[in-house]
Every structure is written in C-alpha cells, then in structure tokens.
Amino acid sequence: MTGCVPLRVVGSFTLAVAAVLVTAGAQAPDGAAVLRRVDENMGADNKITTSEMIIRGRRGSRTVMSKSWVQGRARSFTEYLDPPREKGTKMLKLEDQLWTYTPASDRTILISGHMLRQSVMGSDLSYEDMMEDQRLVELYDAVIAGEERVGDRPCWVLALSSRGGEIAYATRKIWVDRERYVVLREERFAKSGKLLKTTEVRDVERMKNRWVPTRVIFKDALKDGEGTEFVVKAMEYNAVIPDHLFTKASLR
C-alpha cells in the first residue's frame, strides 16, 4: 500500500517492462496473456514511496502527503505527514486486514465491513480499493476488446469480467500500453453495469529500468468534484524494510 493508492495502481507505479514485445503489425495477443504481463510488470518488490494526494472537492482542494513502506503485495505501512490534522495518522495492511491509528484518539481501529467502502482521507479512493492485492489475472477473465490510443500511446483495450466471489468491481475496462504494459486508463463498473470509478495516468517516468506512472487522476463517478490527483514524489526500490514495521505495535 502506498499512501492512498490501491495496490493495483501501486503495481502500475512499479511497472517495468523488460522489453518491447509488441511491434506494429503484430497479431493481437490473448487477453489473459496481456493481463498476465500487466500483473508481472506490477512487481512485488519492497519499496518506499513518498507521495502527494491532491483532493479536489466542491469546496476547493486539499493536499495530503504520505510515506508508504510496501513489502510484496500483502504488507504495507503508511504514515501521513501533512496536513497537520492528518499528521501522525498511520495505516497498516496485513493480508486482508487493515488497521488505522490516529494520535488524537490513541486508538487502533480495524477497518472492516461497510467502512471499507468509505473514502480514504476524502479522496476518490476507498479502503476497499487500497485493500485489493490479488493479481488481476486471478480475479478476472480478460478479452481484448479493441485497440485505441491514449494520448500518443497505442493501447490494447481489455474487457475484464469477474471470475466470481466477493469483488468490488464486477467488470472493468482497461487500456494497456502495448509497449510498456502500463494501464493508462481504467473504468470500473458495478454488477449493474454502472460506472463507479475511473483512472487516468497523466505522466509515466522511467525509474530504475521500470516505467512508473507518476501522476494519476482517480475519479469516483458517483461523487461531484474533479477527482483526486496522485503524484509520486519519490520512490525507492528494493529498499530494506524491517519486519517490525508490519506489526500493530508500530502503529503507536
């Protein structure tokens, strides 16, 4: 978990494409194969990310800064740095459980049930989004629905449908960069077909042989406002993170 970004997108931040595999004129690959490449490119490294979240609501915008320590897909620890009201708030994710600690109350609370659908810090992301850590290929069947350009980047358009079980989004539509295997645009839908969330990657940078989205706009389609902009300020790969950070004791 990095700040307020779901692991699915966090994975995108860590994306590194080893080689350009798809060339112009090549035949469209199998949807599952593209999805597998997207999952592989997300990686499961240890990383430390400092990020900024600009939340644009109807009353103006707020900026929330955080630092996250991520170990693989299942463990993460986040500390909020700014604004002062949020400073010192910490979140710990261990597998499928999420705890939060606020210094004002000195309480550690397990976030569960319908609370998982609440907004994170007033952003367009929910805790449920943050909790998502399984590989896409394990959750969805994928078919290639077409080819489109996002900006100047040629993309595969993949239609994902849930394989069943409890899942936040029954279907998704993703635009995958054909060369970098970065998800550049995404639409997430409810079972009814209603659009729930969208993401747009605005900037992608090369970091340590990886293509990393460094500016992403998240939008909750059910909310007013202009969405939440997530900006990666710094990222350290293969960082040494002590195990004790991923314990409830470290929250206090």
Partner: protein
C-alpha cells in the same frame, strides 16, 4: 309542533331507532376519526419538527438538495453569524444549529482494542450554552434513563437500548469513527455521560447526542452547521407563516447565487411531509364524505320504509287538509330532531373514546422499529374544539339528505284519490 313530533318519535320507536342508531354511530366514528387523525398528524409534525425538520430549517442550497443524506461536506460555513442574523431578523423563533452525522461507535476493551462496534446515527446539538433551547425541544431532562446530561466537553449521550447492546454504562469510553467535513476518517474518543430514551424509534435505535462544539472539533467543521432549525417560540407549527417566512428569507438571499448560500425551507417542504400531511387530510375528507353518503343511503332507506309503513297516516293527514309541503317539512323536522339528538349522542360517545385515546394513546413502537421517519412510538388522539362539532356535519347532513329524498314520495299522493285508497 316540535312537541308533537317528539312524542311521535318517542312513542313510535320504529320511526326513530334505526335512524338514531345510524346517526349516533356515524357521528361517533367521525369524531373519533377526526380526533385520531388530528392527533396522529400533530404527533408526526411535533416529533418530526423537534428531532429533524424544525418548523423551518436553513441549509446550504447544495445540502438542501441531498438533505436526506445529511452531506456535511456541503454544510453551512459561518453558522455563528447566520444564527445571529436569523435571531435578529426573525426574533419570534428560536434558532439552533445542528449537525447530523453517521458513523460507528467503537467500544474498546481494557487493552484499547475493539471490543464491540455498532452503527450510530449522530446528532450534534447545542447542549452546553446557557440559553440553549435544545433541552426543552428534545425534552432531554425527562429522556435521561441512566447517568446525566453532558456538562463537560467530550461527553455524550447514547440511546439506552443501543448502550445496552454495546454493553456500556455511564462513565465508559466510546470512540466515534466517522468522516470529517472533507471526507477524512476521524477517530475521536468520548465519554458516555448518560443514556436516553425518547420514545421515537429512529432515535432510540442507535443514536448518539453530542454537543455541537465537540462534533465540530471532531468533524473538522469549525463554525459550520449542517442545519439551522427554527421553532416558533411557545406555539405550535403554523404552516402559512412558516411558508411566508421561508419565502421572505430566500428572497432576501436571492442575490447570492453560490451553491453554499443559505436556503430556508418550511417543515412542509421537507422529506415529503407535505405530501404525507396533504394525503392524510384528503383521506380524512374522503372518509367524512363517505360517512355522509353511507349514512344518507341508510337513512334514505329507513325513510322509505317508514313512508311505506306510515302510508295510511300520511293519507289521513292529507285528507284532513294538511298540505303536501307542510307534511314534507314535518318529516324533515323529524329528521332534524333525530339528526340533532343522534349527533349529540354520537359526539358524546366519540369524545369519550377520543379522550381515552388522547390519554392512553396507542403504542405503535413494534410496528415502527424499522421506520426511517421521525415519529413518536405512542400515537394519541387529540381533542380540539372542532372535535365537538365535526360529528354534527354527517349527523345533520345525512338525516337531512336521507329524509329529503325519501319524503319526496309524499308529493306523489293525489288528494283526489285518497278516498278510493281508504275504501280499498
């Protein structure tokens, strides 16, 4: 004449018993129906006003559009100044700011870990100001079941049943998990000062009452309020005046086009209450008309039977020189006497039942336990001056109509043929 008619009615019971019984029942049911509807509507209005709508309510325009969801991100900023303005401009009302919020109450164990959680409907009110009207409006002193009212910052009230389910007593620590005005998660500790029971299912299911300053601090809503409620001082809701007041306020703020500009709405404009109340009034009016029609038909039939049975009597009276009009009028007068006496008796019976229902009420708590509207569990009839006269409407109208229609047959009797009829 009246004495003659009265003697006839008393001595010939077949002439009076059925019509009288019909009128008594009809009048009594009308009085009971009116008093009950009046009481139920008053209960809905009063409990709804005290806990939710006020007699008038000021919200931001954006908040008003989604008021059912209590969207605190769209709350009124600068609430203190606005309350001051309202108090100056409309001094005949008490104005009080409130914040409605939702969340979870989390009860910690001895190690500070979650022991039990429950969803809570929060209401932030001015609890601690010396001149706050809230204690009176919500009848808080009488609502306390255990403990006491909050007197210090950070103290709250929980509904008694909710507190029992959570296993907390006064003095226990309770943590509110909610969202700030800007959507951030907030975790704030409070101390349970006491538990309350309002007799209103929505409030008693799982409510938390806190001082508005504490909630402003917790929800990052400094000098903000979701709603500012206005109550006519020492008088019940007055629909026309509330509507006039709201129109005047909104006109005064028409120049402010922002979505966070204040907008005033009357009780009737909120939560579909206008439709509910109008519907209830229409149903009651229909009920009254229905009573009159049914009673008229019954009395008409009774009149027809009486006309047949009194065929000979009418013939003799006509033969003796009484003209048709006089005979017809005497029948109408008989009907009026039956109607009046029946209405008096019916009204007396209806009032007795209505007073009983006013005093004891009818507990609908079990039916309202999942209700989303704010209405008191015990509904009561309400006897008003109108209750004393409303029974006369169907009582007199139906007897008049019934007798007038059935008596028309008198005019079909021809004086020239009476002798032949008697011979036969």
């Amino acid at each position: 004449m009246i004495r003659f008619l009265l003697k006839g009615l008393l001595r010939d019971r077949s002439r009076s018993l059925l019509p009288l019984t019909t009128v008594v029942l009809g009048s009594a049911l009308t009085v009971i129906g009116f008093s009950w509807t009046n009481g139920a509507m008053s209960s809905m209005i009063e409990s709804g006003a005290r806990f939710s709508t006020g007699h008038v309510k000021v919200m931001s325009r954006a908040y008003a559009k989604e008021a059912d969801q209590a969207p605190n991100d769209l709350a009124l900023a600068g609430a203190g100044a606005l309350v001051g303005e309202l108090a100056r401009e409309y001094p005949s009302l008490d104005w009080t700011p409130r914040i409605v919020f939702g969340g979870l109450i989390d009860i910690p164990d001895e190690r500070g870990e979650t022991r039990v959680q429950g969803p809570v409907a929060g209401l932030a009110i001015d609890l601690r100001s010396p001149r706050t009207p809230e204690r009176r409006l919500l009848n808080l002193d009488k609502a306390v079941v255990r403990g006491r009212l909050p007197v210090r910052p950070g103290e709250i009230l929980l509904s008694d049943g909710f507190a029992a389910r959570l296993g907390v007593a006064p003095g226990a620590s309770a943590t509110l998990i909610s969202a700030t005005m800007y959507g951030s998660l907030v975790v704030r500790n409070f101390v349970v000062a006491g538990t309350v029971r309002f007799g209103v299912a929505v409030m008693d299911r799982g409510a938390m009452i806190a001082d508005i300053e504490d909630v402003r601090g917790a929800l990052d809503m400094a000098d903000s309020a979701g709603e500012i409620l206005g109550f006519f001082r020492d008088s019940p809701y007055r629909r026309d005046e509330a509507a006039r007041l709201a129109a005047a306020f909104n006109e005064a703020h028409r120049g402010d086009s922002g979505e966070f500009a204040p907008r005033m709405v009357s009780l009737h404009e909120q939560s579909g209450l206008a439709q509910t109340l109008d519907f209830a009034t229409q149903v009651y009016t229909l009920m009254l008309v229905f009573f009159i029609l049914v009673m008229s038909v019954v009395l008409w039939n009774a009149g027809l039977m009486a006309t047949l049975r009194r065929y000979g009597e009418f013939g003799i009276r006509l033969a003796l020189g009484e003209d048709h009009g006089r005979l017809y009028r005497s029948l109408i007068a008989e009907g009026a006497i039956v109607g009046f006496v029946g209405s008096v008796a019916g009204t007396a019976l209806g009032l007795a039942v209505s007073y009983y229902l006013q005093n004891t009420g009818f507990d609908l708590g079990s039916m309202l336990k999942n209700a989303s509207i704010v209405v008191t569990d015990v509904l009561r009839a309400r006897v008003t001056p109108v209750s004393y006269v409303i029974g006369f409407v169907p009582g007199l109208a139906a007897t008049f109509l019934g007798t007038a229609v059935s008596g028309i047959g008198i005019y079909r009797r021809e004086t020239s043929r009476l002798a032949k009829e008697f011979e036969a």
